[in-house]
């Protein structure tokens, strides 16, 4: 098929929309000036000007684009715009993001004299803020955390306007914004302010693998009461709360309501959700990658503890070396450079789908020990494909819906966008009893053909 359809002239932006985009562009320019300027005071001014302009521009643009239109599904020209349809703008954005991650991870460590490489001016621009929040000067991770949180808040606001017709989306978006700002930014900062270990209560092993490594655990335990609580919290969340919550609500309680990686994907990544690959081939890669990665981090953790118990002699340095390589390949390259850098090309959940061991763990629980499923409404599906299109996890949702089958998939993060986007009201996220969870609608006679796997 694939008829050749000429790309039409897209509706031109209104003067107000152009102005808001110009503010964002000016903000980016100010950021470049902050990087280039040699004067410390001016660097800070440029940086704050940049953040102000980008914020104001993004908010104004979102309000004009979504807040001003009737509430509903807004997908017009999604695949036709260069920015969201893998056009030139997308490639440039991808390159800039990827470049940022490479510099952040490998070229902006403190050289011992307070110099943070190419990002130095930006890091020091945040010193005052960091002193105020954390009682210590900024470093490259504080810069990253600030940008990251700001991205979630700004693009989260955009999502609130865009999806305001759906209360599920409103509450869920509010939730990721809350957890990022409170639990992944302010609380870790305050902990440092009060001379406590920096700790993220919303990240658990095996995603935040080092939290259950012997080194971290012993370090925290030595810290005293607060540290003990952190170890306790981490263990309870990983091994007790995760299975229980997943049993009742599916993996979504974490992946699309709490997690910071998910939070970024749901907000800043929202314009790119349609880019995920829906093919069966991509699904096979998902299975090939994500479970071995989970196995790997379990093996490394076990090895480290074995070493610890046996006083590090028997197994030598294997555990430490493994952890180091894992940190490089999975923690940095996969989750950061590819995971976020490639948003505009591969979609917003590449890391969550192909790499995250926490997602693998939650997924196994969701598939086999959960009440969660997406129900389909009888025979109402028209196979239009809108649900598959918006699935950031690359699930070909319509394969199930058009057969009247419920969707029970390990990868589903329960963002609910398929249900929001379906023009026929076919899909609904439900936590029903486990019996009959796989039962198809009697209104379509599900064919037993090998459609999947």
């Amino acid at each position: 098929m694939t008829p050749t359809l000429a790309t039409p002239p897209l509706p031109t932006s209104s003067p107000a929309e152009k102005l808001s985009l110009a503010a964002v562009a000016a903000g980016v320019l100010a950021l470049v000036l902050a990087l280039a300027d040699a004067d410390a005071a001016r660097q800070q001014t440029w940086l704050y000007l940049a953040l102000g302009l980008v914020s104001a521009g993004t908010l104004a643009w979102s309000w004009l684009k979504f807040g001003q239109k009737p509430a509903g599904v807004h997908q017009n020209n999604l695949w036709l715009r260069a920015s969201t349809g893998r056009g030139a703008v997308a490639w440039v954005t991808g390159l800039v993001l990827t470049g940022f991650y490479v510099v952040l991870y490998w070229y902006s460590g403190d050289d011992g004299r307070g110099n943070f490489g190419p990002l130095n001016n930006l890091v020091h621009g945040l010193d005052d803020f960091s002193q105020w929040l954390r009682a210590r000067p900024a470093d490259q991770w504080f810069l990253y955390g600030t940008f990251y949180t700001l991205a979630i808040l700004l693009m989260g606001t955009r999502a609130l306007w865009k999806y305001r017709h759906s209360r599920y989306q409103l509450i869920r978006t509010g939730s990721v914004m809350f957890f990022q700002l409170g639990f992944a930014f302010i609380i870790p900062g305050l902990l440092q302010f009060f001379q406590q270990p920096e700790f993220y209560f919303t990240y658990f092993w095996p995603l935040k693998y080092e939290y259950l490594f012997p080194g971290t655990v012993t370090g925290l335990v030595h810290n005293g009461g607060v540290g003990m609580f952190m170890v306790f919290w981490g263990a309870v969340m990983s091994f007790l709360a995760t299975p229980v919550l997943t049993y009742f609500y599916g993996k979504r309680w974490y992946c699309s309501w709490v997690c910071g990686c998910g939070g970024l994907a749901e907000t800043a990544g929202d314009p790119y959700r349609q880019l995920s690959d829906k093919s069966r081939a991509a699904w096979r890669w998902e299975v090939r990658l994500i479970y071995p990665i989970l196995g790997l981090i379990i093996a490394i953790t076990v090895l480290l503890w074995a070493n610890f118990a046996l006083n590090s002699t028997l197994l030598g340095e294997a555990g430490n070396v493994g952890a180091k390589w894992y940190g490089f390949a999975i923690g940095a390259v996969f989750s950061g450079v590819i995971g976020v850098g490639f948003y505009p090309i591969l979609g917003s959940r590449v890391w969550c789908r192909f790499g995250c061991p926490m997602a693998a763990y939650l997924g196994l629980l969701q598939k086999h020990f959960s009440r969660f499923r997406i129900s389909t409404n009888g025979g109402q599906c028209i196979s239009c494909g809108n649900c598959s299109n918006v699935c950031e996890m690359g699930i070909d949702v319509k394969q199930y819906a058009q057969r009247g089958a419920p969707i029970v998939r390990a990868s589903c993060v329960g963002c609910g966008l398929c249900s929001t986007a379906c023009p026929r009201g076919v899909l609904n996220l439900e936590n029903g009893p486990r019996e009959g969870r796989y039962q198809s609608s009697q209104l379509i006679h599900a064919d037993s053909l090998r459609i999947l796997s």
Binding site: G72, W79, R167, R424, G425, L429
Partner: protein
């Protein structure tokens, strides 16, 4: 068995898939002129609007066909010889069959308006239509849509997505007057207004005017008004595509005539979907069903008959759904547009004019429920169907209303206000709400 299916729309494909399931040995060939692979006709609008790419509206990935041994022939069948059980294709080949299914779908229905063949005047049914529309609406400032049905509103939404000023001509006094009661039509009209689409009710097309290059430049309405425009969409219905059937001795009327087993007058030749016309439709049902859903059900049914288990077509409780700009619509059962002897209806509308529920029931006790219209609310099909089949009393349905709620979690739940409204309108049947949906969805029925 060698089964040949003409048409790879939902009807033909559902039949092919079902026959493969019932008969793993069958040799199955799908012939279609329009596209190499099955695609979802209902999603054409989303491709135009840029929500989806053309490859995104294929219900199955390309490997599906070979893996399930469904042979695809991308060609047009030009001649059917039922004596020799042979088809002639436009690529010069012939195809023999043991069983033949005609699932040739529809074609846009035109009413012979002067100027209807001008460039920039078209219906929307197939991929060439989509291509033409994409080309001919490129950069234009105003389009006119003729027809107040489902395709009419789709065309309006499509033009609107490109920022093209849109005007819709509707013959009746309200939108989709044959199907929607005035209140529901009013809600749809609100959608047109909110999206700045002008609708002229009680207005028909008289003539389309062209310029010197043979392109449309204006339409003239029956009121004599001339409206300048650069594109005209004709959404005045579709008619069965009889092209191939007419080359043979297969009996046709408006559609290809079939019995309740979807058999034509010729042995081993079946017809189903948009192109089929029942000789004796069941009471209250139409002879030609032109829906995605009915195509799927007919395709499934005829597969059983083809595989040697004659199965009459029983559509079951009627259902349909659509979306008008941002307003979703679902209907179940018998839901007439106007007053019907023996039927009463209860109507509730949300003050925002973005939600409404109508329940039809028998006027005489015990007031069995016969149908539903939902606007901006999602109802659970299985529950509505069960109530209708069981002739459940309206009081019971009202008390259990939450069971049918299919809205997502955290959505406002209107059962309480709906029941209150019902008690006001029908004080003789007081109802106490027993089943709300609750915060989370539990599928228990």
């Amino acid at each position: 068995m060698r089964l040949v299916i003409i048409g790879n729309g939902i009807t033909g494909v559902t039949c092919a898939v079902a026959v493969r399931r019932l008969n793993p040995e069958a040799r199955i060939t799908l012939v279609s002129a329009e596209s190499a692979h099955h695609y979802s006709r209902t999603a054409l609008m989303y491709v135009y609007m840029g929500h989806l790419r053309p490859q995104d509206i294929k219900p199955y990935e390309d490997w599906f066909w070979a893996e399930n041994r469904l042979e695809l022939v991308h060609a047009s069948a030009t001649l059917l010889n039922t004596e020799e059980q042979l088809l002639v294709l436009d690529n010069g080949t012939t195809l023999a069959y043991d069983q033949l299914l005609l699932a040739t779908g529809s074609a846009s229905k035109l009413y012979g308006w002067p100027g209807q063949h001008l460039a920039g005047v078209q219906g929307l049914y197939n991929l060439p239509d989509l291509q033409a529309m994409t080309r001919d609406t490129h950069g234009i400032s105003r389009g006119v849509v003729v027809g107040g049905g489902l395709i009419g509103v789709e065309l309006a939404e499509m033009l609107h997505s490109r920022g093209i000023e849109t005007l819709v001509l509707v013959r009746e006094a309200r939108y989709w007057a044959g199907v929607l009661p005035p209140e529901e039509a009013q809600l749809v009209d609100r959608q047109f207004q909110e999206n700045h689409v002008t609708v002229r009710y009680r207005t028909e097309l008289r003539e389309i005017l062209g310029d010197t290059q043979g392109r449309v430049r204006a339409v003239v309405t029956t009121a004599g008004e001339e409206i300048a425009c650069q594109w005209v969409g004709l959404a005045t219905g579709v008619a069965p595509n009889l092209g191939l059937a007419l080359t043979s001795n297969v009996e046709t009327d408006r559609g290809i005539l079939v019995d309740e087993y979807l058999r034509t007058n010729v042995p081993n030749v079946f017809a189903a979907g948009d192109c089929a016309q029942f000789r004796r439709p069941a009471s209250g049902e139409v002879p030609i069903e032109q829906l995605w859903y009915t195509g799927r059900m007919q395709g499934e049914t005829v597969a059983h008959t083809i595989c040697g288990h004659p199965t009459p077509y029983r559509r079951g409780v009627w259902f349909n759904s659509a979306k008008f700009f941002n307003l979703e619509y679902q209907t179940y059962g018998q839901a007439p547009a106007g007053p019907t002897p023996g039927l009463t209806s209860f109507y509730w509308e949300h003050p925002s004019a973005r939600g409404a529920l109508r329940i039809y029931f028998r006027s005489e006790a015990p007031h069995a429920v016969v149908g539903f219209n939902a606007m901006g609310l999602r109802l659970r099909q299985a529950v509505c169907e069960h109530w209708i089949q069981q002739a459940t009393a309206v009081a019971t349905v009202m008390a259990q209303l939450g069971k049918a709620n299919f809205d997502p979690e955290f959505f406002p739940q209107h059962e309480n206000t709906i029941v209150k409204a019902f008690n006001q309108q029908f004080p003789q049947q007081p109802v106490v709400l027993k089943h709300r949906k609750g915060l989370f969805n539990f599928t228990k029925r």
